[in-house]
Symmetry: C2
Subunit: 114 residues, 2 copies
């Protein structure tokens, strides 16, 4: 991950609503959540939420897919792993001191198959 992307990712997470939103999506897993469900969970007006979703999407931290008239958002575990990897790579003068793979990035289907 490039330094520029890292700044954007950190900036996207550096906001109360968006941090809560991202954590919500992470906990929701690969199935994700519809925008409406997120708005309700966070108690944020739809238009405000849309703004925050756009920020996280632009930062590459979440993905969007359509299901009927709902738009489903889900966390991009790979991006999160890359971000953590960058922060850790650069914490001790270039030495990596901990594995940069915090999550099982496979989705439910893959885990079941494995």
């Amino acid at each position: 991950m490039e330094s520029d992307n890292v700044v954007r990712a950190l900036g996207a997470l550096a906001q109360e609503h968006r941090l809560a939103l991202f954590r919500l999506l992470v906990q929701a897993g690969p199935d994700g959540l519809a925008a409406g469900a997120i708005a309700e969970a966070l108690g944020v007006p739809a238009s405000s939420l849309s703004f925050h979703l756009a920020q996280l999407t632009n930062a590459g931290l979440i993905a969007q897919r359509r299901d009927g008239r709902s738009l489903i958002y889900s966390a991009d575990y790979g991006a999160m792993t890359a971000l953590l990897g960058f922060l850790m790579e650069n914490c001790c003068g270039g030495a990596v001191c901990a594995p940069a793979a915090p999550c099982d990035t496979r989705d439910k289907t893959e885990r079941t198959a494995a």
Copy 2:
């Protein structure tokens, strides 16, 4: 680390100059660097740098100490570890998937003694 502190820490790192600054201090180690040396290394005017140093200090990511007429800044490894810990704790529905101790947080004296 509380969610509020996390937002502040992420916000502090979500800026090109400050991310470079923090990485510089991390690489410099516990001895830290004087404000002037940092300004020169980053090519940022003194007054701008002072603003960024204040942001990082306020976020608890760096510490300040005086040496003569110089102010020496150094990375707070504990804060960085706590931040990484928070991000990892909260990435998989509460399960910690990787050790949250990326760095040897002891200073030179302690390492030598060990």
